[in-house]
C-alpha cells in the first residue's frame, strides 16, 4: 500500500528529527511565510480592512446615524472615532471574519493534498502530528492578523476622520484614550480567542477531503448554522455549547468595572472545541492514506 510506506517513512523521519530538534520552529516559520506570502491572504486581509473604512466613509458622507438604529456603537462614531474599530469588529464577526478563517483553516491540509505537496511535506522532516500543529498555528496566526487588521485599521481611520477623545463606556463611565486603546486590544484578543475553536473545526474538516473548497465552505457554513441555532430560543439548552455563542460577548470589555465572565467562559469553550476537533483531526490524519 503506498499510503503505508509514506506513513512509515514519515514516522521514522519524525523520530530522527525529534532528536535533532529545532525543526518545528523552522517548519512553523516556513508555514507562516507561505501563508502570508500568498496573494489570497493579503486579499482577505484587505477585504477585512475595507470594513472599517467603508463604515467611516459612509458616516462621513451620510451623516451621523440616529441613536438606536443600525449596529450598536454606530451612532457613537461621530462623537468619537475610536468606535470605528468596535463597530467594524461587530459588523465583521458574524460573517466576514468566519469566512476568511474558514478559507485559511479549510485550506490547511486539503490545500496541500490538492496541490500534491502533502506527501512531500510528510517525507520532509515533519511528523504528522507536528504538521497538524504547525498548520493549526498558522490558522491561529491568521485569526490574530485578521482581528488586528479590523481593529487597527478601524482605529486609524477613526483617528483620521473623526474627533478622538475620552470614551464613554456602556456603563456610562468615561475613560481616557489610552485606557480605551488597551480595551480595544483586549477586544481583539477576545475575538481572536473566539475564532480558535472554529479554526480547529476547519482543520479537522480539512483532513477529511482533498478538495479545499469543500472544507472551506463547510467551515464557513458551520459558523453560520451555529449562529442561527444560537438565535432560536427553543434551543436554549444548546446555546452555551455553540462555538459562536460568546462571539458578541466582547462588549463586556466595554463595561466599568470590566466583566471577565464571558471572556473566561469563551476561552474554556474554545479550548473544548480545540481539544475535541484537534483530537479528531489527529485521529483522522494519522490513519489517513496520503496519496497525494
Amino acid at each position: 500500500m503506498p499510503g503505508e510506506t509514506v506513513e512509515a517513512s514519515a514516522g521514522s523521519v519524525a523520530t530522527r528529527d525529534a532528536r535533532t530538534g529545532g525543526g518545528t520552529a523552522w517548519l512553523l516559520g516556513s508555514e507562516l511565510l507561505t501563508l502570508f506570502r500568498r496573494r489570497r491572504t493579503w486579499a482577505m486581509l484587505g477585504a477585512l480592512a475595507l470594513i472599517p473604512i467603508l463604515i467611516a466613509v459612509a458616516i462621513i458622507i451620510a451623516g451621523p446615524a440616529p441613536t438606536g438604529r443600525g449596529p450598536a456603537f454606530l451612532s457613537e462614531i461621530t462623537n468619537n472615532g475610536l468606535f470605528v474599530g468596535v463597530t467594524a469588529i461587530l459588523v465583521a464577526i458574524p460573517l466576514f471574519l468566519p469566512l476568511t478563517i474558514g478559507v485559511v483553516a479549510g485550506d490547511t491540509i486539503a490545500g496541500e493534498a490538492s496541490h500534491g505537496t502533502l506527501r512531500y511535506l510528510l517525507i520532509a522532516p515533519a511528523g504528522r502530528i507536528r504538521l497538524l500543529l504547525v498548520k493549526y498555528a498558522g490558522a491561529a496566526a491568521f485569526c490574530v492578523a485578521g482581528t488586528l487588521t479590523v481593529v487597527v485599521v478601524g482605529t486609524l481611520v477613526g483617528w483620521l476622520l473623526f474627533p478622538i477623545g475620552p470614551v464613554t463606556l456602556l456603563s456610562g463611565a468615561t475613560v481616557s484614550v489610552g485606557d480605551a486603546l488597551v480595551r480595544l486590544l483586549a477586544i481583539a484578543a477576545f475575538v481572536t480567542v473566539s475564532l480558535l475553536g472554529m479554526s480547529a473545526i476547519g482543520l479537522f474538516l480539512s483532513t477529511l477531503t482533498t478538495v479545499p473548497v469543500g472544507a472551506m465552505a463547510a467551515t464557513a457554513i458551520l459558523a453560520v448554522v451555529s449562529q442561527i441555532l444560537d438565535a432560536l430560543p427553543q434551543l436554549e439548552w444548546l446555546h452555551p455549547w455553540l462555538f459562536t455563542h460568546y462571539w458578541l460577548g466582547f462588549a463586556d470589555l466595554l463595561r466599568e468595572p470590566m466583566v471577565w465572565d464571558n471572556f473566561i467562559d469563551n476561552a474554556v469553550l474554545q479550548a473544548g472545541y480545540l481539544v475535541v476537533f484537534g483530537a479528531l483531526a489527529i485521529g483522522r490524519f494519522l490513519t489517513k492514506d496520503v496519496l497525494s
Partner: protein, 429 residues
C-alpha cells in the same frame, strides 16, 4: 520508538487495523473526558451539603437577623412564562417612540416602560449587583448594551446605554425626614394606645413572627426543603406551597445562605410544572465590600439627562389618600382598583374607564388622553396578538399570571386559573 516486529503468522491487515484504532483513541477520549468533566463538576459542587436542621421559624429568624452590609455578585434571571419572546416586537416600538420625542414624553415613556417591562418578564437576564451600606448598584448586562441603577445618598441614577439616557431620581430629604418623624410619633402613640388596650407590653418580634407564620399556615404550607448549593455557598431552602386550588402558583422556593442568612435565590414554579417559571439566583457572590468606584456615576457628555424629583406627600395628603382608598374613588373621580379574594387567589380588578381597556373599541375612548392613548395604542396592538378570545372578553394566560380584558372594559388579573378569573369576572366577587 522502534516498531515491534510482527510475527510472520499475524495477518498484516489485523495489525494495521489495531494500529489505526489506537490512533483514534485521543479522538474518542477527548469528548468523553469533557463529557465526564461536564457531568461531574456540577455534581461535585452539589454533593454533600448538610447544614444543621432548622425549622421554618428558625430559618426565618436566621434570614431576619442577617446583618450583611456589603456584597457583590452576579445574578441570573430566567423566566419561562409561556409568553412568546416579544423583544423584536417591543424593540420596534421602543425605537418608534424614541424617534418622535416631541410628541409628548408621556407616550415615549409609556412605550419604553412597556418595552422594559416586557423584556424583563419574557427574557433571561444577567446582572451584577453591588451593595455597600446605603450604596447600591444594579448593572444589567444586555447584549451590546447595559442598563444601570445607581442608588447613593445623592439620589438614584438610571442609565440606559442604548438610548444614551440618564435619569436622576431624587427625593426631597427634608420632606421625607419630616414624614418619617411624623410616622414615628404616630407609631409611638399607636403603641402606647395598643399597650393600654392590651393591658401589657406589645408582643416580641418572636411572637409576631410565630403569629404571622400561624396565619401564613392557613393559606400556605411552609417547610424547609433540601439543603443545596447556590453560587458555591451552602443554602437552606424555604418552600412555600399554596393550599389553594385556584392559584396557578405551585411552589415558591427561596434559598437562604446558611452562614449569613442572605437570600441567594428565589424561584416560582407553576402548579404541575417541573421547571420554575421564574427564577432569580446568584451565580457567584462575595461578601467583601466592593470598590467605592463602582458606585460613582456622572452622566457622560452627550447623554440625555432627565431630572426627576419624587414628591413626598405630607401627612395630610396621606390621610386624604387613605380616605380615597376607602371610598373607592380618587380625587379626579376615577374608580380605584378593586381587590377580590385574599391570599394566593387574589384577583385585582381595574374597573371600566381605567387602564388599557377596550381592546376592541380602541384605546383612545378609554382615557381620552391623546398622549396616553398613543402609548396604549401600541400596547393594545401587542395585546391583541397575545390575547385569546373567550366568552365575554379576551384572555392572556401565562403559566403564572392570567389577565382578562372584558368586553365592558374591565381588566382583571391574578395568579389564578383562567376558569377562576372568568368566574370572578362574571360574578363580580
Amino acid at each position: 520508538m522502534p516498531r515491534p516486529a510482527y510475527p510472520e503468522t499475524m495477518p498484516a491487515q489485523g495489525a494495521a487495523a489495531s494500529r489505526r484504532f489506537s490512533r483514534w483513541i485521543p479522538a474518542i477520549a477527548a469528548p468523553i473526558a469533557i463529557g465526564v468533566a461536564v457531568v461531574l463538576v456540577p455534581m461535585q459542587a452539589n454533593a454533600a451539603v448538610d447544614l444543621p436542621d432548622l425549622t421554618p421559624e428558625e430559618l426565618l429568624e436566621l434570614a431576619a437577623s442577617s446583618d450583611v452590609e456589603a456584597l457583590s455578585g452576579t445574578v441570573e434571571q430566567t423566566s419561562e412564562l409561556g409568553l412568546p419572546d416579544l423583544s423584536g416586537l417591543t424593540g420596534g416600538m421602543g425605537g418608534a417612540s424614541g424617534g418622535d420625542d416631541d410628541e409628548g414624553s408621556d407616550a415615549g415613556a409609556s412605550g419604553a416602560d412597556l418595552d422594559d417591562l416586557m423584556s424583563l418578564v419574557t427574557g433571561n437576564h444577567t446582572a451584577k449587583v453591588y451593595v455597600d451600606g446605603g450604596d447600591k448598584r444594579l448593572q444589567v448586562l444586555d447584549r451590546l448594551g447595559e442598563r444601570d441603577v445607581y442608588i447613593t445618598d445623592g439620589g438614584a441614577w438610571i442609565w440606559d446605554s442604548r438610548e444614551q439616557t440618564a435619569t436622576h431620581v431624587t427625593v426631597d430629604r427634608a420632606a421625607l425626614e419630616a414624614l418619617e418623624a411624623e410616622a414615628e410619633a404616630h407609631a409611638d402613640e399607636a403603641r402606647e394606645r395598643l399597650e393600654a388596650e392590651l393591658d401589657g407590653p406589645l408582643p416580641t418580634p418572636d411572637e409576631v413572627l410565630d403569629e404571622a407564620l400561624a396565619k401564613l399556615d392557613e393559606s400556605t404550607e411552609v417547610s424547609v426543603g433540601t439543603d443545596a448549593r447556590v453560587a458555591g455557598r451552602e443554602v437552606y431552602e424555604l418552600v412555600l406551597v399554596p393550599r389553594d386550588d385556584d392559584t396557578l402558583v405551585g411552589e415558591v422556593s427561596v434559598a437562604i445562605d446558611g452562614d449569613t442568612g442572605v437570600p441567594l435565590a428565589a424561584s416560582v414554579t407553576a402548579a404541575g410544572a417541573d421547571e420554575p417559571a421564574f427564577s432569580v439566583a446568584f451565580t457567584d457572590v462575595s461578601f467583601a465590600a466592593p470598590d467605592a468606584s463602582v458606585f460613582a456615576f456622572t452622566p457622560p457628555e452627550g447623554a440625555e439627562v432627565t431630572e426627576h424629583e419624587v414628591p413626598i406627600p405630607t401627612v395630610a395628603e396621606l390621610e386624604q389618600l387613605k380616605a380615597e382608598a376607602e371610598t373607592g374613588v380618587d380625587a379626579e373621580g376615577t374608580p380605584r382598583p378593586i381587590v377580590h379574594g385574599s391570599g394566593w387567589s387574589t384577583v385585582v380588578e381595574l374597573p371600566a374607564g381605567r387602564g388599557p381597556a377596550g381592546l376592541d373599541e380602541g384605546a383612545d375612548a378609554a382615557t381620552g388622553d391623546p398622549d396616553a392613548a398613543e402609548g396604549l395604542g401600541d400596547a393594545s396592538a401587542m395585546l391583541d396578538s397575545l390575547a385569546q378570545r373567550v366568552d365575554g372578553g379576551r384572555l392572556i394566560s401565562t403559566s403564572l399570571v392570567t389577565v382578562l380584558f372584558t368586553d365592558d372594559g374591565r381588566v382583571l388579573a391574578g395568579a389564578v386559573t383562567p376558569e377562576h378569573l372568568l368566574a370572578v369576572a362574571s360574578s363580580g366577587r
